[in-house]
Amino acid sequence: MSKSVLRGLRAAALTGTLVLASSLALAAENPIKMGVLEDQSGDFAAATIGKVHAIQLAADEINKAGGIMGRPLELVPYDTQSDNTRYQEFMRRVLQRDKVDVVFAGFSSASREAYRPIVDQFNGFAFYNNQYEGGVCDGHMIVTGAVPEQQFSTLIPYMMEKYGKNVYTLAADYNFGQISAEWVRKIVKENGGKMAGEEFIPLGVSQFSQSIQNIQKAKPDFVVTLLVGTAQASYYEQAASANVNLPMASSVNVGQGYEHKRFKPPSLKDMYVTTNYIEEIDSPKSKEFYAKFKAKFPSEPYVNQEAENSYLAVYLYKQMVERAKSTKREDIRKVIAMGDVCMDAPEGKVCIDPKSQHMSHTIYLAKVGADHSISFPKTWEDIKPYWLGEAGCDLTKKDPMAQYTPSNPPPKP
């Protein structure tokens, strides 16, 4: 029944986006068109509205400064409503009807895998500005978010050293959660630890009493929470009220859904997150970005990791187009192949790895205190997305348009 409810919701939102898109079409002649497919309503909206705003902020700044090669940047936004089929519809629309030069799209890995074949089919060019489970080796995609070798190979060893070697994973039951859990398993084993247990939670589940008890039964030293969506975020409040009192480690919390702002302290006490950006980062670049963001969107509840990824991605795109003197994907990939596409982002210096078309990042370890304040016990600079390249993905030579995992690596030549 909720499915049919969602379906109607889309219809309502579609009308709104059409009006918005047509009013934006007033821009000057021959603009560079950028499709923006992000969830502005539905279960993921809390984490993703900031991405749309960050793209608008970057586009405004670029247009004020003269555009890209003198051409204005025109956004073509659609609300994908946290729904995978909506991604497929709108991806076809932006590529076929709106004929955009580039698409910025996607929050959940399920939605990315839903639209990626369409990008490949219509020979499009898409940016996925989101942390995820890694492994996408596809020349049509650039990924600016962090991947497991950046988030887990820093976080898990730190947690095991500090708290102990018994690890429990609580993950969302879809491709992101399953593959991320595989990474956790692998890294725990490599570091001589043991999995005390694992549970996968269907998306949309909001009641966790039994899962909480399963965790208490397994007696882990810490819990890796890879819960996704607003319904699953109910876990923290329920675990805190049942006094589970275990440290938590995550690659998705705080940095995406700002749970430390939404829930009453101390439900997220001792949550450790590796993220490449959150608004609390105390550097001049970060402060400047945060101030610009708040000036344009004063009511923005939180400037999260994915907002920064989206913001820097617009500037990276500008740089690549200007260096390639073209918006054609083949020309842009020649620039990427040079291996020096870098920029000073709000988080620090980032570069595109030509082999995987993923980004190097500064990884911050954020710790949530009992009063939900954030401290940064550790920072790792210039962590590279090395896994795909080492495993055998090299987009400068061959484009397999596939996603790989540790248990399903690229085929050896």
């Binding site: 919701l9 309503s41 009493s209 049942a242 939404r262």
Partner: protein, 290 residues
């Protein structure tokens, strides 16, 4: 671990699942089970109750009063909805699906636009207690007691009060009730408001334990509908045993194989019950008695 720990843990999990099913369903049991209005906006009445509760608690009210405010506001919204929309559709039950579905879209998207994508939580009161190796949230026990209280109150309301008799008479044979001088329009309004208020109460009670987002109603609606569908038309004799049965299946399967199997078990149980007892559990119980 000794037997008592296991028994208590199983009872606690049962109680927790039972409370969620019954509190989600009781408002719908009145509106759908009793009045026959297929209310797809049920989840949004729950969301309304949760939001009002959180807002009033943020404004400084203690939580019980906040929950009361959530209940009352939902009931008032229920009256408005009944007057404006539902009233005109009592003899067109299929059209109520479209109308209430539209209402739910408006409510979800309207809340997103006006209040924003999330609302700050209020925190779960009361803390925890320890039994054996496990610690439990006291508030979950409160929820279980609230579910029992709501069931008892509904039974009393519809069986022992004049309003209850009039409501049942009006819904069973409206023209006869009208001929005997009952203001059937008023009774319909009040009954609908009662259902909407119960949904608001569920939202208020769960507000401290959940993420407050415009789509939060969707997490209740599946459980609410299956409980009412297998419960059948009688609010008390349907919802209580249906909640009990589904809670045993759900908590048992979840403890055995995890959340996914809990959901699968729940739906399989529903399919079996609907197949064996097409009139729901209350239909079966009432036929046995007569």
């Amino acid at each position: 671990m000794d037997i008592a720990t296991h028994v208590f843990s199983a009872l606690y999990q049962f109680g927790d699942a039972f409370a969620f099913l019954v509190l989600s369903a009781c408002g719908l049991a009145v509106i759908f089970g009793m009045m026959g209005v297929i209310n797809l906006a049920h989840g949004e009445f729950i969301m309304c109750g949760a939001y009002v509760t959180a807002a009033t608690v943020h404004a400084g009210l203690p939580l019980p009063l906040g929950i009361l405010a959530g209940t009352v506001v939902s009931a008032l919204v229920g009256v408005l909805v009944e007057l404006a929309v539902i009233r005109h559709l009592y003899d067109r039950p299929l059209d109520t699906i479209v109308a209430t579905w539209g209402l739910s879209l408006i409510a979800t998207q309207g809340t997103l636009i006006m209040v924003g994508s999330t609302m700050a939580g209020v925190g779960t009161p009361f803390g925890s207690f320890q039994v054996g190796d496990y610690s439990y949230s006291i508030y979950r026990i409160v929820l279980f007691c609230a579910a029992l209280g709501v069931l008892a109150a509904l039974y009393a309301l519809f069986n022992w009060t004049r309003f209850g008799v009039l409501a049942r008479a009006t819904i069973q044979v409206p023209h006869m009730a009208a001929a005997l001088g009952v203001d059937t329009r008023l009774i319909y309004s009040l009954t609908f408001a009662c259902g909407a208020g119960l949904a608001g109460l569920a939202g208020g009670l769960y507000a401290p334990t959940m993420t407050l987002v415009p789509t939060m109603g969707a997490t209740f609606i599946m459980e609410a509908f299956v409980t009412v569908v297998i419960g059948g038309a009688d609010v008390f004799l349907g919802t209580a045993p249906a909640g009990g049965l589904l809670a045993i299946v759900k908590s048992g399967m979840t403890s055995w194989q995890g959340q996914l199997f809990g959901q699968i078990g729940l739906l399989v149980a529903v399919i079996i019950v609907v197949r064996v007892l097409p009139k729901g559990i209350s239909g079966f119980v009432l036929r046995e008695r007569t």
